[in-house]
């Protein structure tokens, strides 16, 4: 079976890989590029653990045909921090105890980033809506919602 070349920007860096037909972007990121931050939870769109941003929009990488990312900008949790400095969302998740096992956390953070990039002052209802495609089985949603709201407040305080 022939492989197809695929090039895209991965957290600001150009990458090029060869993919098998039908492979999803999650597999391409984890197995071909070695970025383990997006997680495999279900492969069915149901859990959100594989969430990434494509051209700034939230997508489920497990349901994205890898080839459709060609020429586009893919952001994962791996690109979120700035050198040694955590992103305000990451800091808020830590301070508000918004992660327990941490499996959902990469997806939660990407969904939260997609929200705050567009809407720096979300309401609680908007936060709930923004993470509604992401399932957390152990922390519970309240600390996660509180962390996103806290990150929004700290972001505004710095701006």
């Amino acid at each position: 079976m022939t492989k197809t070349p695929l090039q895209f920007r991965h957290n600001g860096r150009d990458v090029a890989v060869f993919v098998d037909g039908g492979v999803n972007l999650l597999v391409a990121l984890r197995e071909l590029i070695g970025d383990m931050t997006p997680k495999f939870g279900c492969g069915q769109g149901g859990c959100g653990a594989c969430s990434v941003l494509i051209d700034g929009e939230l997508h489920l990488s497990c349901l994205t045909l890898a080839e459709t990312a060609n020429g586009r900008a893919v952001e994962t949790l791996d690109g979120m921090k700035d050198g040694p400095n955590l992103h305000p969302l990451q800091r808020a998740f830590m301070e508000q105890f918004a992660a327990q096992c941490g499996y959902c956390t990469p997806g939660m953070l990407m969904a939260a980033k997609a929200l705050l990039d567009r809407n720096p002052s979300p309401t609680r209802a908007e936060v709930i809506e923004a993470i509604s495609g992401n399932i957390c089985r152990c922390t519970g949603y309240e600390p996660i919602i509180n962390a996103v709201l806290a990150a929004a407040t700290s972001g505004r305080a710095r701006a």
């Binding site: 997508h59 809506e129 509604s132 495609g133």
Partner: protein
Amino acid sequence: MPVTVKTFASFGEAASALSSDRSARYLGGGTLVMRALNEGDISISTVVRATDQALSRIDVASSRVTIGAGVTFARVLAERELAFLHAPARSIGGPAVRNMGTVGGNLFAPSPYGDFTVALLALDATVSVQGGLGARDMPIEEFLQSRERQSGALVLAVSCQRPASADAFRYRKIARIKPKGGSVITLAAHLPVSGGRVSGARIALGSMAATQIRARAAERALEGRALDDSAVSAAAAAATEGVSPADNALGSAWYRREIVGVHLRRLLSGLE
């Protein structure tokens, strides 16, 4: 098992590739096709894509709006002129699914999905299809009835007349999880009123049969009457006529029959 992915710049080429290969599947947003591939569905050996901009066009210039099959729900939500379709678009999935899923893919989504299509059925939409024999427009009802035979055809766009007024079009999705949950029942109604009386009512139901269906007996109960308590009660009482819901994890067929009239009454009386 790897599949062959064929990407075409024009929808015409994609349509020919689809119609000439029985095991080819068109990829819209991929939220259902990729699920099948991830599960190892061996009935798909070829995936066909079209990057043609014509498929993602939205035309709102006239009283009739046209939405390309490749338009996502997020884009419907970003278009102010499509405000009447915002409630159905918002009721689908979470934000990522709305960024990915398309209007065209929704026409093929099996129950419990296909919420947007319920709205389009109530609005008497037209579906433009490009098959092996050329392009044709068909009423959405006819499209849905022959949906199984449409595989191999490429949907180009859907179009519909804007509702007579904001109040004339109503939509309601019953889900157990909010936000984001599969449909127990989805209801949409277009209720044009002329001289104080309903004229040309269309009521569509999702998850009440194998495909989205019209509640024709309920429509008849409203026709020519004012939308008052007695007309609404008559329509609600007729809501189960012709339905054949199935049992699934979201609700039993019995439950769906029990509650469809209750929710139709609320929809028609404008209650939240």
